[in-house]
């Protein structure tokens, strides 16, 4: 009995301790996850994307209006690229300012650092990414009736472009609402020469009016190169006849191409009603004349 009493007391103390522990967890500062990534679009200026989110249960919730600073190579005022504030998606994008061209050109690899401001809800968070400059080139080869896409990935080392082997690359055809993989695989890996060759078998794809479409290749969140993107227009598609909707008389055409039946109907009604109104105006004139004659 004494043992049972002791056990009950122990249980009560443990329950109390657990309750305090849960409360303490609730009151702890929320944790913000900040990430910075590098993006090199085809023929455009590279940019950095900062994302801020919070894990709530099993979901990641984007954090809006998180303020921070992005630096290049070191966290110093002279290396400050730009101040950021995240949008409703918890994102902020910055382009590398032209003032940093000398710094950018000086090395083949750079470190980008983001530091967020501490606030009432979150402590200051720092995140960084180390990026080596890379480029992707797309080439096409037509041999023995077979079309091949050659994708070459190069990285900058000591001011020279060197082949980058063992890099995972995605290769696809750009369509209106997304990308269509060029072959059976989604992802290809470059060889020692930094190249990957894919046989192209999608012969009957519709292209534009001249049969063109765009082949794209990119690295996705690569730990060394980030997100590097390339594209090449090829004339392998089936040419599409342009559909000129505006030249046909229809309800959705321009005003001058209204359907004849609609024009007939509308102008008959308008003519009928306004013809009657004109007749009535003439009657008013007639009444005026009759009044003057009576004088």
């Amino acid at each position: 009995m004494q043992l049972l009493k002791n056990k009950s007391g122990l249980l009560a103390i443990l329950s109390l301790a657990f309750a305090f522990s849960v409360k303490a967890q609730d009151e702890a500062t929320r944790t913000m996850l900040v990430d910075i990534s590098y993006h090199m679009p085809a023929n455009r200026v590279p940019y950095l994307k900062v994302t801020a989110k919070e894990k709530v249960g099993r979901n990641f919730i984007p954090l809006k209006d998180i303020i921070g600073k992005v630096y290049i190579n070191e966290e110093a005022e002279s290396s400050l690229l730009e101040d950021i504030r995240t949008d409703s998606k918890g994102e902020s994008r910055i382009f590398i300012p032209a003032a940093f061209k000398t710094v950018w050109d000086a090395s083949g690899s750079h470190q980008f650092i983001v530091v967020t401001e501490a606030g009432e809800e979150f402590e200051s968070v720092q995140s960084e990414v180390e990026v080596t400059k890379a480029k992707i080139e797309i080439d096409t080869v037509y041999e023995n009736g077979v079309r091949n896409i050659i994708v070459k990935v190069s990285e900058q080392q000591s001011g020279e472009w060197q082949p980058a082997g063992d890099v995972e690359v995605k290769i696809a055809i750009q369509r209106l609402l997304g990308n269509l993989p060029v072959g059976e695989e989604d992802i290809y890996t470059t060889d020692e020469e930094g190249t990957v060759s894919v046989e192209f078998t999608r012969d009957s794809l519709p292209g534009d009016e001249e049969g063109n479409y765009v082949i794209v290749a990119w690295t996705e969140d690569h730990e060394q190169f980030g997100n590097v993107f390339a594209e090449k227009t090829v004339n392998w598609g089936v040419a599409q006849e342009p559909q000129d909707f505006s030249s046909r008389r229809s309800l959705w055409a321009t005003g001058t191409q209204a359907p004849v039946w609609l024009l007939g109907l509308a102008f008959s009604i308008i003519g009928g009603v306004w013809g009657t109104l004109i007749y009535l105006f003439i009657q008013i004139v007639q009444i005026r004349k009759l009044g003057k004659t009576a004088d």
Partner: protein
């Protein structure tokens, strides 16, 4: 004078707000990418609706040989004319750049309901003006005959508009024929005007507007609000100008019965409009309906339905409810409820598009009019009342000649 002064003040504030809108652009309003039609278009639909009463009282009752409504015809017509005039103004206000109105005529598409609306509104305005003017001609002669009794400079207006009226047989015959033609002509045009206005909404694929019921729903609602407005005007003119001999309790009683009929018809279309989508509960319709029934717009929705439709109809079923004062109060409830009803037709649907609202500022997801919008809307309402006020101060609001002829033709009971 106080009444006129207040109306002019509201109009001036509205004009100042419109100046600000012209000066700074539509940015002074709280409309955005989603709620691109706000209080202006609600007001436009309200004015178009209220103007339909001209065709009901002047034409439908006239052609149906309903003689008791004769003293009310001019009230109905001046309401129709002033309301349709301001419906035209408010649509230009909504455009933001009024000088671009001319593009509608240069590049207009006959396939577009907006083009039909422009055509039918201008036609309805002309017909309503003629229906106001032609029956006024015999009364202008009576007023001209009174000018020696000190009618002031207004007599010049009477001479200008009706100096040629000699009441000879040929003139009267032409006039009666013209009024008859107009009475026939205005009915299809009136149905067109509000059906086309409803098609501005119904021809777009959106929850709350995607309905084949919309034309009839709008027309029935328009007759109700127009009749409500006539009842208010009847009570005010009767009190202010001591017209108890001409606008009698019988008129209120009969207008009450008309209002009950119109309210029941409109209620029937409301049931159709909400029950059928609520039964199917397609996802987008569900979001829209829940917002109306239990969401942000629920107080306004239930007010417009209960206070603007069901409660007035129930009260007017009883004889005591059709007395002048209760009718006046119920008329106000119907008109105010109808205004909110138009707001509910326009705004909630715009805030629930099919595609998710992404990459847009938070303020675009809600809509409440800015002070400029309120000022312009209230100014336009004041403008309608101002036209009516000026009209009744210059011209007789009861058709003198027609009412005398009517009373002579009706045997004394």
């Amino acid at each position: 004078m106080i009444w006129t002064g207040i109306l002019i003040l509201f109009c001036l504030i509205g004009l100042f707000a419109y100046y600000r809108q012209l000066r700074y652009g539509l940015v002074v309003t709280h409309m955005g990418d989603y709620a691109s039609w706000g209080i202006y278009i609600s007001n436009f639909v309200f004015f178009v609706a209220i103007s339909l009463v001209g065709s009901l009282v002047t034409a439908i009752f006239r052609l149906g040989n309903i003689h008791w409504s004769t003293p009310l015809t001019r009230i109905a017509e001046i309401i129709a004319v002033s309301a349709i005039l301001f419906a035209s103004f408010i649509i230009v206000v909504d455009m933001g750049r009024p000088e671009r109105l001319v593009n509608l005529f240069i590049y207009g598409r006959i396939q577009s309901p907006i083009m039909w609306d422009v055509i039918v509104i201008s036609t309805y305005l002309v017909i309503s003006l003629l229906l106001l003017y032609l029956p006024l001609l015999p009364d202008l002669k009576i007023l001209n005959d009174q000018k020696e009794k000190g009618r002031g400079w207004w007599s010049r207006i009477y001479v200008l508009f009706g100096g040629f009226w000699k009441s000879n047989a040929r003139q009267e015959r032409i006039n009666q024929k013209a009024v008859l033609i107009l009475s026939i002509l205005i009915i299809p045009v009136a149905f067109c005007i509000h059906t086309v206005t409803s098609w501005l909404f119904a021809t777009t694929y959106r929850p709350g507007w995607d309905s084949t019921n919309f034309g009839a729903y709008f027309v029935s609602g328009a007759f109700l609000v127009g009749a409500g407005a006539v009842v208010i005007a009847m009570y005010v003119f009767r009190k202010v100008y001591h017209l108890e001999r001409y606008i009698t309790e019988t008129h209120f009683d009969k207008m009450g019965k008309v209002l009950v009929l119109l309210a029941l018809i409109y209620l029937y279309f409301n049931v159709n409009e909400y029950l059928v989508p609520a039964f199917k509960m397609k996802k987008t319709e569900e979001v829209h309906l829940v917002t109306l029934f239990a969401g942000d717009f629920a107080p306004m929705f239930w007010f417009s339905l209960l206070a603007g439709l069901i409660i007035p109809a129930v009260i007017m079923l009883f004889k005591q409810g059709r007395k002048p004062l209760p009718m006046f109060i119920l008329g106000i409830m119907v008109v105010v409820g109808a205004w909110f009803k138009r707001y509910l037709i326009v705004t909630p649907t715009l805030l629930h598009p099919f595609l998710p609202m992404e990459d847009s500022p938070e303020r675009f997801k809600h809509y409440f009019p800015s002070w400029e919008e309120w000022a312009i809307a209230i100014g336009s309402l004041a403008g309608v009342l101002l036209i009516i006020t000026f009209f009744v101060r210059i011209f007789p609001i009861i058709p003198i000649q027609e009412t005398i002829a009517e009373q002579d033709a009706t045997p004394e009971k």
